[in-house]
Symmetry: C2
Subunit: 286 residues, 2 copies
Amino acid sequence: MREEATAFVPGHITGFFSAHPDDDPTKAGSRGAGLTLTDGVTVTVRPAPAAESSTEILLEDRETESGFTPVSVEPVETVLETLAVSARVEVETDLPLGAGFGTSGAMALGAALAANRVFDRKLSENELVTIAHGAEVQAGTGLGDVVAQARGGIPIRLEPGAPASNLLDGIPARARVEYVSFGDLSTPDVLSGDTDELSAAGKQALSRVVEEPTLASFIFASRAFAREAELLTPDVLEALEDVAAVDGQASMAMLGNTVFALGTGLSDAGYDPSVCATHPAGALLE
Amino acid sequence: MREEATAFVPGHITGFFSAHPDDDPTKAGSRGAGLTLTDGVTVTVRPAPAAESSTEILLEDRETESGFTPVSVEPVETVLETLAVSARVEVETDLPLGAGFGTSGAMALGAALAANRVFDRKLSENELVTIAHGAEVQAGTGLGDVVAQARGGIPIRLEPGAPASNLLDGIPARARVEYVSFGDLSTPDVLSGDTDELSAAGKQALSRVVEEPTLASFIFASRAFAREAELLTPDVLEALEDVAAVDGQASMAMLGNTVFALGTGLSDAGYDPSVCATHPAGALLE
């Protein structure tokens, strides 16, 4: 057993998606496309101290004395139970939580990669991705982030599910990405509602990007999706109009009260965005 | 049309493989496992000058006045013909050619990614990988390098062929990699001979790594494969014995007159190896 292992998992902004529920969590998931980001989540796993046997998840919090706040993250707990380990998990991220960056999926995948290494579980990358994807689907916190974050780049999710059943492609490009977040939007609430209209819009967006896998068509399809699926919040709508007014390219992060732009769209429009880029690699051990 | 685009493609050392010929080059390929490397190939594509219409491939060569030597690389020519473009292609690499690093596959994949961008061909990553893989298979210069180089990390090729038919997994690890090359070993000569014995050994090695996807089992399976497939050259055999004598982990790059080691195996044994690491990402546009 190692003392610790650390994994970095890129953030993932989904531009559009269609939901594909299935009783088997390895087959459930989503089709769609998104951007993986150089802003992401760093997960460090250590064995739980001998005296106590339960897993503890700590989120970095610079405002507390210890530097960490205990949190409950169901997909991470499920991952560690599946690997049959008790661990101390430290999570660091500059991304806002619950704002459409796939942070819960990133925590699950990072915990899987790091715990596999610390506890010498000898699982393959696909096996670890499958465990994290299943945990995320079961918790209802996401449908396609984990497989996208394992791949990196600008993933197109052609078929839903874990690696054994999904099919991924990618847009061969890189981009500077800006984002501004206006607060929470609950993924479980949206995903547990009626997703028929949303999925019809998602399928149309996917056809467009498959026909022309470029950044321009991705952002166009994403904007059309956000409009047609009636997911735009007032804050997001206003920011999109501001970016359009300066000829920028932006859309809404699914599912978050967040606007992202390619290049300098948001800063050109007078916002003070966070700035990162698409991440060329998938999740990785450090 | 852009003025130029550059792609970096990691080198790829195959530890073991089994050959899977097929009349359809998108289904032909190999099963096996290997390491993608931070040492790789950089390919820059520009449109061919207006006056001449034919493609020109130039290999960086610091000993010539122009800095480049014209070369003929069949898979690159096939890729550019498939994309229906004429280009000036500049190739830079520190890797030795024809020594088991997948440089021909890297050139083909880099040319596909960069030409798609320069000539605005709007193909997806899978489509570009398929074109490069098919070109490499048709030229007989490799069977599994392109799909591994597109993925990055430490790829396990569970099913052969281009992305639509293959199945990849990976060993979740990173490593420092050392290598020493003793010169040429012709891939076409080996691949055109009787590959039955080689493929039997390759299947056995793959089962071992699937059962335990770790670096330790990869290097063990690779050494057993090199021995059983009777591919060891005298130079390679001597170096493997030297590394084993200092408790290092090494094997032979397939197919090249090259020894690679994990960690410091070759330098511990008194060699003066090139040093790199596994590459966390697949091929990427710069």
